[in-house]
Amino acid sequence: MIDSVATLDLKRVSRLFPSPGGDVTALQSVDFLLQPGEFVAISGPSGSGKTTLLHLAALLDRPTGGELLFRGNSVMQMTEDQVGELRKFHIGMVFQAFHLMPRRTVLENVRFRFRYQAISPGEEEQRAREALSWVGMDHLAAREVRWLSGGEMQRVAIARAVAGRPSLLLADEPTGNLDHANSMAVMNCFEQLHSAGITILMVTHNEGLLSFASRHLHCRDGRLEDVT
């Protein structure tokens, strides 16, 4: 069902942020290999560099040191347009704050995944409806998003992320704004997507969710430790 050939390879990756008081090191010489079909969870305290790592994996940011390979290709020399193409076709993202458009319907929000892709309206709708059925939200396709619960919103956001059939699904604190029941519903979605072959990299504070992942990494002071 889903193309899952994603490979993310971080080699001695560092990320420094300039600040008036001197450079702040968010990530320090991180080595990390994400194999296709894996479900990796990264935990760690606030400010440890989890989100920075996720943004690098999502190609939203670039390392200040080391090398980052996406599906075997170094992104360091790629132009912004080339990186944009990778994000467009190979990466799906789920955010803690959902980032949905409240006045658009559920279906329209999922279709927004294709905003910058040249596919026909018919295929766009078919793939959006398919993604909604994976997360069990197809019955609410016509409802405006602002009338949904937090859990439902996050499931719509997941549908939007996977509608493009990405090789890699990245989730940044996907249950951070949800209660326990909704968190479980969302994690069940991830579990199903993982079973379907999607590679997932999830950042979370919630230790209780780590069991859903096939591998667990811990981030501390900009360094990554394999816990499993």
Partner: protein
């Protein structure tokens, strides 16, 4: 098809964004609209003046020079004063046709007391008048001081007059020989041009006026020169001016009216209006643009998470910049349309009530629309660039 889809998607994005922030959009539109109204009014005045200057020259005659002597000359020497100037020109300026016009202190008794002018038989030809009915004056009329008159269309239509009808001027009866079509000019003593566009006027031969001893209005008299097309108008003007610089004439001051001097007068007025109203409209547009820019900037700051999302979904910095520029152009475009409708209403109310002519030509409305859309593009450029340069990671982190 792909382009159409992209426009459709862009339209959807813009429509949603505008609907979600009615206050910001309304304020932006209002600020631009004020500038557009002022600009439209200004253009309408400027184009109106340009049209007026064209009409003025057309009515005056493109190759015509009017010599208007100061009133003392005619007061002292009567018809002879003008005749001598005309004769001086005839003798010395080959390639010109000379005619005179002088206002009489007489009015027609039974036609609203229409003013009466004395002319020579050449005047209609020199002034480029045409007749809508009847005939003009001929040599015989001049020789025998015929009791014939020409009247303007305005007078004829007002009283239902036709050639052959009669009237009284002073104690003498006259027959209408012909009717002059409206649209020819007569300069007054101050050098300003009075257009016979609707004025009821009567013309009789100078020889007749002299024989009947009508008195003249010394302040309204002129000698007209029509320069042949092949001749250089400026050279002939200089030669004519040199002739009256002769000691025999230099005691009398002459006013010279030419198409250029008429246009110069209009252009001075145009410049004045362009400078004052132009400054005001430029100021209004600059203020509108600045307001638009600050509101766009606030909009970008408010939509940082959305920008992050668009970038995460594969949107390029150019896509993001285009979205904000397009939004701004839509705002200013709609503001221009509303502003133009408002300006059209104002122009409709002003028409005929102010001295300045107004033009309602299509370009009076097209130019503000173009200016407005350019304004939208220019003033949204910086906010759009700011949005495009936002780091997507930072944008999503700040959500």
């Amino acid at each position: 098809m792909k382009k159409f889809r992209e426009w459709q998607r862009m339209g959807r994005d813009i429509s949603e964004s505008l609907r979600s922030q009615p206050g910001r959009v309304g304020l932006s539109m209002f600020s631009v609209m004020i500038g557009i109204i002022v600009l439209t009014l200004l253009l309408s005045m400027l184009f109106g003046l340009r049209e007026q200057s064209r009409q003025l020259v057309r009515k005056f005659g493109a190759n015509v020079i009017a010599i208007i002597p100061e009133s003392g000359l005619v007061a002292v020497r009567g018809f002879r004063g003008l005749d001598d100037i005309a004769e001086l020109m005839r003798r010395n300026l080959s390639g010109t046709h000379v005619a005179i016009m002088i206002r009489l202190n007489e009015r027609v008794t039974n036609w609203d007391h229409a003013p009466v002018w004395a002319i020579d038989r050449k005047t209609p030809e020199v002034r480029g008048w045409s007749l809508s009915a009847g005939r003009g004056f001929d040599f015989e009329d001049e020789q025998r001081a015929a009791r014939s008159i020409l009247i303007t269309d305005a007078l004829a239509s007002r009283h239902g007059l036709r050639p052959g009808d009669s009237c009284s001027i002073g104690h003498h009866a006259f027959i209408i020989a012909g009717i002059v079509r409206d649209g020819s000019g007569i300069p007054d003593a101050a050098g300003m041009n009075t257009i016979t566009g609707g004025e009821p006027l009567v013309f009789m031969l100078q020889s007749t006026a002299e024989r009947l001893e009508y008195s003249v209005d010394a302040s309204s008299a002129a000698v007209f020169l029509r320069v042949d097309e092949a001749r250089n108008h400026s050279v002939m003007l200089a030669r004519a001016q040199a002739l009256v610089n002769d000691p025999a004439w230099s005691a009398w001051r002459m006013n010279w009216v030419t198409p250029e001097s008429l246009i110069r007068g209009i252009r001075d007025l145009q410049r004045l209006i362009a400078l004052t109203a132009g400054s005001v409209s430029a100021l209004c547009l600059a203020l509108g643009g600045t307001t638009l820019m600050s509101l766009m900037l606030a909009d970008v700051r408010q939509r940082v998470p959305e920008i992050g999302l668009r970038r995460a979904l594969g949107g390029t910095p150019r896509d993001v910049a285009n979205l904000f520029v397009a939004e701004s152009c839509v705002i200013t475009g709609v503001a221009a349309l509303v502003g133009i409708i408002a300006a059209r209403v104002i122009l409709g109310l002003l028409e005929g009530r102010i001295a300045v002519p107004l033009s309602l030509e299509y370009f009076t409305f097209v130019i503000p629309v173009i200016v407005s859309i350019v304004l939208g593009g220019v003033f949204s450029f910086w906010p759009a660039q700011y949005a495009a340069r936002l780091s997507p990671a930072q944008a999503l982190r700040n959500a």
